[in-house]
């Protein structure tokens, strides 16, 4: 049995192929301006790379922000249920998932069966998301990949008081002008994201063990800041970006049985 999950986010699109329930292939691509063509592209790439044809897939679930704007797939499921399922699959003890994506962040409480029990999404604003980090990286003239490494390279931080991405960016520019080092500004930014996410975690009700998913989970600085604010260690999967797609592919498998 071959199933697939496609997670169409605002920044990246991921596809996971499962063969008899085991990870067979995964792809991560930029979504670009058109989510429909992103899905077509990720799907055709997966077919080329695996040698599979579209008729070989028994069931495909699409998820994420662009889940409905595709011509591909048998069912749509929200990323809330998919992240819960994907994270739980990797570790059955996980009771809470923090997913920090490009455009929004979510905290999901997970049941003993890997289902979503309760959730909270950030309110219509980029604070505490991947987009926030992208904007700040640009202001600091460092790459998004470098941010995390610079953050964990030392100690100490400055306070970033603005939650708003636009205000925080101008605050960063002022801090640079005042002569603060990039490293302590970056750690300040990580703390700002962590504060926001910690607030969401407590609103849903802290229930460890926690797993961090989504592209921002690749950033070691954010992980460290979150662990400090939450006072708890956080599980981070090897490839955090594909957890939603894994969950979707697993839900697709349930549909087949």
């Amino acid at each position: 049995m071959i199933t697939a999950g496609i997670d169409i986010g605002s920044v990246s699109t991921e596809m996971v192929v499962l063969k008899e329930g085991v990870l067979y292939h995964s792809i991560v691509m930029d979504t670009g301006p058109n989510s429909k063509s992103a899905v077509e592209k990720v799907f055709s790439t997966a077919c080329i790379e695996t040698g599979l044809k579209s008729g070989d897939f028994d069931f495909i679930v699409t998820t994420g922000y662009g889940r409905k704007s595709t011509g591909i797939g048998h069912k749509t499921v929200t990323e809330l249920s998919c992240h819960a399922r994907g994270a739980w699959h990797l570790n059955n003890d996980v009771r809470m998932v923090i997913d920090i994506g490009g455009q929004d962040s979510k905290v999901i409480k997970v049941s003993e069966e890997g289902k979503s029990l309760d959730f909270l999404m950030n309110e219509k604003c980029a604070a505490g998301t991947g987009r926030f980090l992208e904007v700040m990286a640009r202001a600091l003239e460092v790459s998004i990949e470098e941010l995390g490494e610079i953050a964990v390279s030392g100690e100490g931080s400055v306070e970033i008081s603005s939650m708003c991405t636009v205000f925080a960016e101008s605050e960063v520019v002022s801090l640079i002008a005042e002569g603060h080092s990039k490293a302590i500004i970056i750690r300040g930014l990580m703390n700002s994201i962590a504060s926001r996410i910690t607030g969401m975690v407590h609103r849903v009700g802290m229930s460890p063990p926690l797993m961090l998913t989504g592209g921002v989970a690749k950033n070691r600085g954010v992980i460290r800041a979150l662990e400090e604010k939450l006072g708890s260690s956080i599980l981070v999967p090897a490839n955090p970006q594909i957890i939603g797609a894994i969950g979707a592919a697993l839900i697709a498998m349930d549909e087949c049985c």
Partner: protein, 424 residues
């Protein structure tokens, strides 16, 4: 350019209540000519749904036709008193809802910002202040406001009455329902009667007050019957339609039209119940708390038609007050105001939620938290904890009932779908 856009531009560029009256008459004619077919087949799924539109538009037309008899009142104010004087009360909050449904609100809110109205202030209030200031509303005979559900009302009604140079009657509503508080509010209501007699030059006739109370009590009884039918049967009506009842509560309680409308709905739903109506395929029974977005959106339709949930109970339609008593009219009206679920201790709302979850076999609860509305979203944590006592899911939707500028449908749909996935 669409007709809707042309009308909107015309209204904003050249606000003229006279033209609006003509426009409403045309809409009324269109409603009158639109057939009320079988459920789900025509523009109006029932005669009661058509009657709702006819009565509301006709009431609006009368206000524009006879502004010297109209009274702008805050939502849940003592409208029976206004009907007893044979005047036409109209809730300004509901006029903001109408402006939102016509997509006028974003322009009005943008204008309001230029007039030092902070964007932290409730958009219902900002919109009606601007409706008045822009000249889209006729000058009323007077304004009447209460502090009982919203403290901001006094501030915004002061601006509206100042703009129109009309008298403002204001009721300072106490927080706790006890005999001293009832007497304090009853004295204010009695004094308001004298003020209205001075404004109109007419004495209040006991027979008119009696008629207004009877109409209000008849409407109350029909609404109780409607709620009972909804409680005991498979879904008989979409919540999206039931939530429009607030427009009636805001302006027509105490009028014959209001009573007859609720009666029509009650009879319609009774007929559906007797015929074992099964055309609403809602599998999950939802309790909806607070209001809904009034600007054009597909949120409720999506929830009820596509996601398989149906709202079977609405907080806004709860009958929280006792029958009005003509032998003790002012205290009776005072008690009605103070019984409102949004006044005083949060326990009132929590008890309503507990009762409704048990009585209506509720599967999930949705609270719409209107931006800046402290009496609605100030206690979401307590509401969530109360719902959780029953082991059923709770969804808080942060949003704005009037301002569509911050509304992202995809974000709301993900929340609703995620909620339905939890419901299973």
């Amino acid at each position: 350019m669409s007709l809707e856009k042309r009308v909107k531009q015309m209204l904003l560029a050249n606000p003229d209540p006279g033209k609006i009256k003509k426009g409403i008459s045309l809409v009324l004619l269109k409603i009158f000519l639109t057939p009320a077919g079988r459920f789900g087949t025509r523009a109006f799924g029932s005669r009661s749904e058509k009657k709702l539109s006819l009565i509301l538009y006709n009431h609006a037309r009368r206000i524009f036709k006879s502004p010297h008899s109209s009274v702008f009142i805050s939502l849940f104010g003592p409208i029976e008193l206004v009907h007893a004087f044979n005047l036409l009360p109209f809730s300004l909050e509901m006029l903001s809802a109408v402006a939102a449904s016509m997509s006028l609100a974003p322009d009005l809110l943008a204008r309001a910002e230029k007039e030092w109205l902070s964007s932290d202030f409730c958009s219902f209030h900002r919109t009606y202040i601007e409706l008045a200031r822009t000249g889209l509303l006729p000058k009323p005979l007077f304004c009447m406001a209460t502090s009982h559900t919203c403290d901001g009302t006094f501030k915004s009604f002061s601006q509206v009455s100042e703009y129109f140079s009309t008298p403002l009657i204001f009721f300072d509503t106490p927080y706790h329902l006890d005999m001293n508080a009832v007497k304090y509010l009853a004295r204010q209501i009695e004094s308001a009667v004298h003020t209205i007699e001075e404004i109109t030059g007419r004495s209040l006739q006991v027979s008119d007050l009696e008629r207004a109370f009877q109409n209000s009590n008849r409407a109350r009884k029909a609404l109780l019957d409607i709620n009972n039918l909804k409680r005991h049967h498979t879904p008989l009506i979409y919540g999206e339609e039931s939530l429009l009842f607030v427009l009636v509560i805001g302006s027509l309680l105490g009028s014959r039209a209001g009573a007859s409308l609720y009666k029509a709905y009650m009879e319609e739903l009774k007929k559906r119940a007797d015929a074992r109506f099964n055309k609403i395929n809602g599998k999950k029974r939802i309790l909806w708390l607070h209001l809904k977005p009034f600007f054009p959106n597909t949120l409720m339709k999506y929830l009820e038609r596509d996601l398989g949930a149906v709202i079977v109970a609405e907080e806004i339609n709860s009958v929280y007050w006792e029958e009005l008593n003509i032998h003790n009219p002012w205290e009776s009206l005072a008690k009605k105001l103070m019984s409102n679920l949004w006044v005083g201790s949060i326990e009132k709302r929590l008890n309503y939620i507990r009762r409704t979850i048990e009585d209506y076999q509720i599967d999930g609860v949705i609270h719409f938290s209107h931006w800046g509305c402290r009496q609605s979203n100030g206690a979401v944590r307590l509401i969530k904890d109360t719902v959780m006592e029953y082991g059923i899911p709770f969804l808080n939707l942060d949003g704005d009932c009037i301002d569509s500028r911050n509304y992202s449908e995809a974000q709301y749909i993900t929340r609703l779908e995620g909620f339905m996935e939890i419901l299973g």
